[in-house]
């Protein structure tokens, strides 16, 4: 499987993403990170979260989700979320999602740690060979993770 690494999705901030301060509502950045990861999963692993659930596949539930906010986004702002694999563990891996406003200014940095679970989606299991191989390949394809600033 080939992808254009790193995966980058672009979107536009909608009115409903924002709060009375006129900026994106803080927990919504976590949603932006999840959406980028969703696209990444499909492109790199070849299946969607939905398919994981319905096809008896290995699951990748989230163990932790963090967002560091650098510059607020406002309604209408275009932004790009770029996905890197920051760490590969024994039973988990961590995605790094860097969100930049259309003009390149750093907006948010998200990290999402996913555990691989057996198809019952209950118990953690070591990364399968396919996960190991594709995560490692994706890291290589991305090259160095850019300094965040």
């Amino acid at each position: 499987m080939t992808t254009n690494a790193p995966i980058c999705i672009t979107a536009r901030v909608r009115f409903g993403d924002c709060d009375p301060a006129g900026i994106v509502f803080t927990p919504r950045y976590g949603g932006f990170v999840f959406e980028a990861a969703e696209t990444w999963l499909e492109a790199v692993m070849g299946l969607s979260v939905h398919q994981q659930l319905n096809k008896g596949e290995i699951g990748t539930p989230v163990r932790s989700l963090t967002t560091d906010l650098h510059r607020s986004l406002r309604p209408g702002d275009r932004f790009a979320s770029t996905v890197y694999v920051e760490a590969i563990g024994r039973t988990s891996f961590r995605l790094l999602v860097i969100g930049r406003r259309g003009d390149g200014v750093l907006s948010f940095v998200g990290r999402m740690t996913c555990v691989t679970t057996d198809p019952s989606h209950r118990s953690a299991m070591p990364l399968s060979e396919m996960y190991q191989q594709r995560l490692t390949q994706y890291q290589a394809d991305c090259g160095d993770i850019p300094a965040i600033a």
Copy 2:
């Protein structure tokens, strides 16, 4: 001002909080943390986020929001979010929100770091005396933060 420390809010997971896996959608836990912090702010600081914006008050925008997930919540589950002050810095403070299912099982742990800003809500400023005093008092009122498990 007196509060019943620690502040604890209870809620029930709604159908719409949950995703096709039948559990709370991951970024929604960040919303639960925000909502607990919102209640805490009003009880301890005596004003709402909304009032901060509209009354020329010191603001407390979020610099980072993290959620660690221990046990998924499902539709109809009751849960309680308890708010602690975990750290008091020079221009920021960090809230710790511990979410437990109705039966006491640990579900999520959130951390939200807020920066205090001048009333223009643009630039960080040192914690005012009132913030320092109330944060410190709240910490004392809460006693030791319970071990998370």
Copy 3:
């Protein structure tokens, strides 16, 4: 089964329910209506949407959801949503949800038409005797629907 008819749920508008105009984001009123209906279903029909899905029960998917807005709600506003059964059809029923601000001012009027489906949740089926009986009883228990104004 007895209920305190009409079912009324109270809530408080949260910061994250609101948009940059400082009022509840329009589609969120549909969420308020759904949440009231969710509570009503559990109280009157004795099972949750979640249980419908998992226990092979008759389903009640939504065919239409409408919200008429009379007065905007703002962060911190308390409001009450009261649920009535407005119409009982052959394969569907319509709930009316009247939302009032804490001071009694009319805020929103929602209508949600639900179709009853067989346990596969695919095809509409006539209301079961239990649905007919409970919907009719609830209507009787509620008495006249108050004039909306």
Copy 4:
């Protein structure tokens, strides 16, 4: 101003748009309708909801939002929302949003009635000449509204 009438936006259903039934959460369709209207407003009226608020422009708050559901959308489904002007009143206008799945199957039909208000966004006012002209022109550009089925 010229537009490619009718305005049509395409999107893909995300995991987080969906509920435990594995389909888009009902109130979320209202969000899809709002998002289509948001794009329409900017393309046809030349300004965003956000700019209405901040630039002392005529406002177009929503008086009612309805969604009729024909076929559920699922995670990953592509869909297109096409926006028509269904009615032009004295102080309001009504948008019709037709949502079709990627394969053309009708999914949802939304209607959103907007009131024009003076720049204080408080009181309804007759449609300005610009609104009348552009709404009428858009209707003409769209031609007949297709039969919904």
